[in-house]
Symmetry: C2
Subunit: 333 residues, 2 copies
């Protein structure tokens, strides 16, 4: 089993009630490892944390200009959104622009993340549709590239479909290894999630953060995607979400994206670095504090946000402070 | 940081995507450790997993007979229920029987667990009340003992209130150590959760499973509680829940209870054993598979349920099987 040190602790009163092990890599575009904790050569499934990488194919296709798409659509292609009205309506409008509809989405349907959205649907007697799926923006981007290249849209989630082949070609260019040789599992939304060594995932992020060594085509796309993430942070996640908060607070400095099962990725253009984190137990709560800790460690987290993000409170049902999450003293605490 | 081996793996395709470390103890009433994995002397917060122990105070008070309460109420006192209509209505009826109402509950309010219940409330334009709190049965039991002994009901969640003092006295008798000396954190529902060595939590469970060494008063209460858990498994949790499923499937053989942050406890009367499990990352999903694995290891899990409970499927949004959870090969897999 892959090893990694305890990165995050969860306390309740005087007791460390739970703790989370992880691996993390901070890497330069040439693959130089600037800092690492735990095994970073182990393969992980990036899940949604590599959506910014996958959005490269959309931006490079020329479809943004052809269909009059904007930052909000690019950010949605990078997003795991909460299914709030603006997310859903923007996805529906996007699909209309490219001559498609929700019925072309192959991501499936799940209830929106936000309690208020679930209740709003229920009050209307309505049911969530595929546009509510947190991955509906990414899938709209996939469909858009198929339309742009005149490919069949059906089956765009399959490993051998040209849409997925392009994603692997881009990953190969960004991480410096042959992504066609990676094993894969099927993600929650049906697409292949490529088993990627953590260090290479961080390198791909670094390549997007500081793309001067990439082709002009890749470099321009990476720059456009970073700008869109900071310009439309709400589209990246939603109300109160960590990705939205950080991408809003650090324009031009950090572009971060969470993934299921405790993955987190980040681009740090001012430092020319990429970050990849995997909490080995799959805990999203710990991946967030670990990302905040690394951002602070690297000096890009505003001082006035350190306490809230490095020591998120654990509250009970009535809102009483009963504990906290924190970086382990044995790590960067 | 407390150590424990990897007990549970989560796979996706060919990859072990995440894994969970834990400690587990199988103990006799006299404290003899029959089997253990990881550190079992470390203190853990039992959270809701010790509700059956706390229900002893209710049954021993005589209030069951005085107020005409039954198995459904005793099971609710042991429960972390899903806030389904029968749970909520039974709690409301219970409070009326003892001359109180929901406003006397100090557990706070949170939305019901079941999506359908959340939607039903929204359609009615209603909001969850304290009775919907998963701990409302336990709190109704606490209030009932205060009424029974003529104590003030206000503040029954405080460490020094007679209600909480009785719980510590019972824990002391069941685990063989002075529970007044235990540290504590505040639980989600506001009561003290006593920091208990895992081996002693298992011993307390064993004492309830095979209570012949306890006082008659304790022994009769433990026997009554075990019977109520098997008689009203729905009240223990709710639709589709692991606790409901197991307590329904193994009448007289096992009485189990989950707790927050990856805790699980069990009584095995036919074997005269108690079980306590703590997943150190706090993962409930792993604690369930670990409990199923121990029940199988101890020979009490029906063969026709082993596959479903030891290898729960990981499905994607459209319901495709994409992986599984399983006991680690290095443990009991």
């Amino acid at each position: 089993m892959t090893a990694g040190p305890v990165l995050i602790e969860v306390t309740r009163g005087p007791v460390v009630e739970s703790w989370h092990q992880g691996s993390a890599a901070v890497v330069r575009p040439d693959g130089t490892v600037v800092a690492s904790w735990g095994d970073i050569e182990a393969e992980i499934l990036p899940r949604s944390a590599n959506k910014p990488i996958q959005a490269m194919a959309l931006v490079e296709s020329g479809a943004i200009e052809r269909f009059g798409l904007g930052n909000e659509h690019i950010a949605l292609a990078c997003a795991s959104h909460s299914g709030e009205p603006r997310h859903v309506e923007t996805v529906r409008g996007w699909l209309r622009k490219v001559g498609l509809s929700e019925s072309d989405l192959e991501c499936g349907t799940h209830p929106p993340r936000l309690q208020a959205s679930i209740e709003a649907l229920a009050r209307e007697g309505a049911h969530p549709t595929a546009a509510y799926n947190n991955c509906s923006g990414k899938h709209s981007g996939f469909l858009t590239t198929a339309v742009q290249y005149g490919e069949p849209t059906a089956g765009y989630i399959k490993y051998d479909h040209p849409v997925q082949q392009r994603l692997r070609a881009i990953m190969t260019d960004l991480c410096g290894a042959d992504a066609d040789a990676f094993r894969y599992g099927i993600d929650g939304c049906g697409i292949p999630s490529l088993a990627t060594p953590l260090s290479l995932l961080a390198r791909a992020m670094a390549s997007m953060a500081e793309p001067s060594q990439l082709s002009n085509r890749h470099a321009e796309a990476a720059t456009r995607i970073r700008a869109a993430i900071n310009a439309e942070p709400f589209m990246m996640a939603g109300t109160g979400r960590f990705c939205t908060r950080i991408n809003q607070a650090l324009p031009g400095v950090a572009q971060i994206k969470t993934g299921a099962e405790g993955v987190f990725c980040g681009m740090l253009p001012t430092l020319g670095l990429g970050i990849a984190i995997k909490m080995w137990d799959g805990a999203a709560r710990a991946a967030e504090v670990a990302m905040a800790t690394l951002l602070a460690h690297l000096g890009v987290l505003p001082a006035d946000q350190r306490d809230a993000l490095l020591h998120p409170p654990v509250k009970n049902v009535v809102g009483l402070l009963v504990g906290e999450m924190r970086p382990a003293k044995s790590w960067l605490g």
